[in-house]
């Protein structure tokens, strides 16, 4: 139960940060998402994000910062295993599961649901 509360607080806190950015800077959602993913890579690279994941679990992995951090972990592991080529193969290898799932399910949804122009994309 304690872990769930910590995940709630940390995840909520990260989203609060995003909301502050939206309200104060007028960054578009696309920029926010990109910024969060890139920040995640940086935080993962400098080693602050792993401890946060150990502490907050899904509170740290579910926000897009976790997606970015995962790329950093993947690239580190790939370089450790394969040397230089790992710098190229690591990032997308780490992200492949999530990206493939998003693409597959979105395609399925687009085929199944008939919403056409009524559905507003979150721009």
């Amino acid at each position: 139960m304690k872990q769930i509360i910590i995940a709630f607080l940390v995840g909520g806190g990260i989203c609060l940060l995003g909301q502050l950015l939206i309200d104060l800077t007028k960054l578009t959602p696309a920029r926010i998402l990109t910024a969060f993913a890139v920040c995640g890579v940086l935080l993962g690279a400098v080693g602050v994000y792993r401890p946060l994941i150990d502490f907050a679990g899904a509170g740290a992995t579910v926000p897009l910062l976790g997606f970015g951090a995962n790329l950093a972990f993947g690239v580190k592991r790939a370089v450790d295993e394969n040397g230089w080529s790992g710098a190229l193969t690591g990032p997308l290898t780490a992200a492949s599961g999530g990206i493939a799932a998003v693409l597959l399910l979105s395609l399925l949804a687009a085929v199944i649901f008939k919403r056409g122009l009524n559905c507003k994309a979150a721009k």
């Binding site: 769930i4 509360i5 910590i6 995940a7 709630f8 995840g11 909520g12 806190g13 990260i14 989203c15 609060l16 995003g18 909301q19 502050l20 309200d23 959602p29 696309a30 926010i32 998402l33 990109t34 993913a37 890139v38 995640g40 940086l42 679990g57 899904a58 509170g59 992995t61 579910v62 926000p63 897009l64 997606f67 970015g68 950093a72 690239v75 580190k76 370089v79 230089w84 710098a87 190229l88 690591g90 992200a95 599961g97 999530g98 799932a101 998003v102 693409l103 979105s106 399925l108 949804a109 687009a110 649901f113 919403r115 056409g116 122009l117 009524n118 507003k120 994309a121 979150a122 721009k123």
Partner: protein, 145 residues
């Protein structure tokens, strides 16, 4: 009444005081927190079922993505996002929504130029810049080894 964009923004600012932040921030906090708490419950469930840590993490992502795409298809994620703001945008569910929503919206433009291309409207830049950042880190890391 003719007002320039700047004047309008100032007017807008004076009429929508700090109360806007007081409304949006708690909503974003709660929405994001709830999504992450659901993620944590799923993580604990999958771990309990015997999945390894990494597999369990992926399973959590896939479950949340599935829920988000389903809600997007039913037109419900939009309604949540109106209230949740960044709370529904920043978690992986928001990323999934940003792929599924344009796929649905541009369905009428066909499978290639519509669904296939527009899926990457927001996911494209996210993947491009985070991948480039990670490659840069990989090069630095390999140099330092």
């Amino acid at each position: 009444m003719n007002v320039t964009k700047k004047e309008y923004e100032e007017l807008n600012k004076s009429r929508s005081p700090k109360s806007k932040l007081q409304k949006t921030l708690p909503k974003a906090f709660v929405a994001g927190g709830v999504i992450c708490a659901i993620g944590q419950c799923l993580l604990m469930l999958y771990r309990y079922l015997g999945l390894e840590e990494e597999t369990a993490g992926l399973a959590v992502s896939v479950t949340l993505i599935t829920l988000s795409v389903l809600l997007t298809g039913l037109g419900l994620y939009d309604k949540l996002a109106k209230h949740g703001g960044a709370g529904t945008l920043v978690p992986i569910t928001g990323f999934a929504n940003s792929v599924a929503a344009p796929a649905l919206e541009f369905k009428t433009e066909g499978y290639i130029a519509g669904i296939g291309a527009k899926m990457f409207l927001i996911a494209g830049p996210v993947i491009v810049y985070s991948t480039v950042a990670a490659v840069a880190y990989g090069v630095v890391y390999a140099l330092m080894k």
